[in-house]
Symmetry: C2
């Protein structure tokens, strides 16, 4: 019996890394197993694969008539085409479950931040050594899923796993995570105009035409390096006020580039406004950017 | 958070022993946990509890508003009343699953013969020593669920667990299992007539009025010790032919006490008939007792 191991469609770093790490564990325990991906590997996972020199899993097109292991998902809507005619032999996951089987199968679900935390546990339980590159991938997935332990889903078990894995993978947790997040959220392939319009909404505030764009990235430096180009584009628009918020989810705040009087921005976000200023705690357009600007513009 | 740990309604030996063993493991790991039973402890489990000097779990009447751990079952129909208002935090089971949760919880399901095999595995994974009496209960449950490894659900993992546990519990697997099965299937509290009529069916075979009773027990000796009393009762009935099959599921055959000519019994079951004769391989009334007797009676 050869096992196909895969995560969910539109795979994230956990889906990619957990399929590789569990396949390796199965191999060490004497089972034939091979990782697959149900979609293109995204930038963040690709960074981890490159860093630890591991090949990306092959793309799986059809699970029909195969013996499969599901990682990082358990709901049929998220899994491979042809799953109705596949033989699900095992599930390893950290999500809420919606599972119904005809026969007993192996199921391992734990309420932790990342599937890879469970898989690391399984290595330990089976006394199988975690090699350097597998440690690196497990670590990458846990840091990704827990957003460097900032996600409320983070548990002590996730943190402990990362501590141990970082020693095997020989990386500093903080700096490796930031490097990976930067690579994963890089906007390098987009133009100034594309970034401003990526998630852009228009509002009427006290008769003024106001536009607010927001992007989430951790590759802040390369955005701020082009601050003048952003500003030139923003100023060339015919909005009365335009604010581009570059939101850093780790620092939990947004860098602001704007077409507006400094006083409006200072009033709205309690900052000493200048182009590229960091507005601490401001991460939501709906709950912070829009109401704060509405009030500040009305009071000008 | 104090955990209530329990198996299914109408609890078998696995449900009782796995709730006690998992509670002990939780306690060793620093969690408050207590075993409960969803019904009266049956004779087999009571034998194991007596043998290893462990108190029976208290009866649980209502799980409402409690933090609960389900062992040896996962379907809501089999679990405690009030479960809809309970907080299920963990499931350890070896059955097919029908689980749907709102949030991620701990789930450990493995396709092995007994929940206690999984729990023994969890002791090892957590490096928690299995004490004598817990080893005895785990062993009892595995022998019970696998019917001393005769059940097709038995896996190598179940056998290996029993080997290791029998050393800690200081018992011989075969003889302990037989003693437990005897206690569990004892018919001591029933009268001769009750035993004959326990599962009794009447047939017409070539114009003869034929009755066939069947009981499953491993306490064969105490039945055969009363052979003459059974025979006196059987002969006093007005059936033309009456066969009582005392089926031994471990030896896979039935001891026969009968009102019939020896030749009919010899022909029907290829034995040298005498009262209490063992008919090897004969375990099914529908597939063996009825058709074989029908043919033998027709050919007399």
């Amino acid at each position: 019996m050869s096992l196909l191991v895969f995560g969910h469609k539109n795979p994230d770093t956990d889906s990619i890394c957990s399929s590789i790490a569990l396949s390796h564990l199965k191999n060490q325990l004497g089972f034939e197993a091979k990782p697959y991906a149900l979609g293109e590997v995204r930038k963040e996972a690709q960074f981890a694969l490159n860093y630890f020199k591991v090949d990306a899993p092959e793309l799986l097109t059809d699970a029909k008539n195969k013996d499969v292991v599901l990682v990082d998902h358990n709901e049929l809507a998220q899994t491979a085409d042809g799953i109705e005619e596949a033989n699900i032999v095992e599930i390893v996951d950290h999500h809420k479950v919606e599972i119904s089987t005809e026969v007993p199968i192996s199921i391992r679900v734990m309420p932790v931040g990342c599937t890879c935390t469970i898989i690391y546990q399984m290595y330990k339980e089976n006394n199988v050594e975690v090699p350097y590159e597998i440690a690196g991938l497990l670590l990458s997935a846990i840091l990704s899923d827990t957003l460097l332990f900032k996600s409320p889903t983070t548990t002590e078990m996730d943190k402990l796993a990362c501590e141990e894995l970082s020693k095997i993978a020989n990386v500093d947790i903080e700096s490796y995570a930031m490097e990976m997040f930067k690579a994963g959220t890089s906007l390098d392939e987009f133009s100034i105009e594309e970034i401003v319009n990526m998630d852009f909404k228009e509002f009427d505030m006290s008769g003024k035409r106001v536009g607010i764009g927001q992007v989430f990235t951790l590759d802040i430096d390369s955005i701020l390096a082009k601050k003048d180009d952003f500003l030139a584009h923003i100023n060339s628009t015919d909005y009365d006020v335009l604010v581009l918020a570059i939101t850093d989810i780790i620092k939990e705040g947004s860098y602001l580039i704007y077409k507006a009087g400094d006083k409006v921005i200072s009033d709205a976000f309690s900052v000493d406004a200048s182009q590229g200023v960091f507005a601490e705690g401001v991460v939501s357009r709906k709950k912070q950017l829009v109401p704060n600007l509405t009030t500040a513009i009305k009071n000008i």
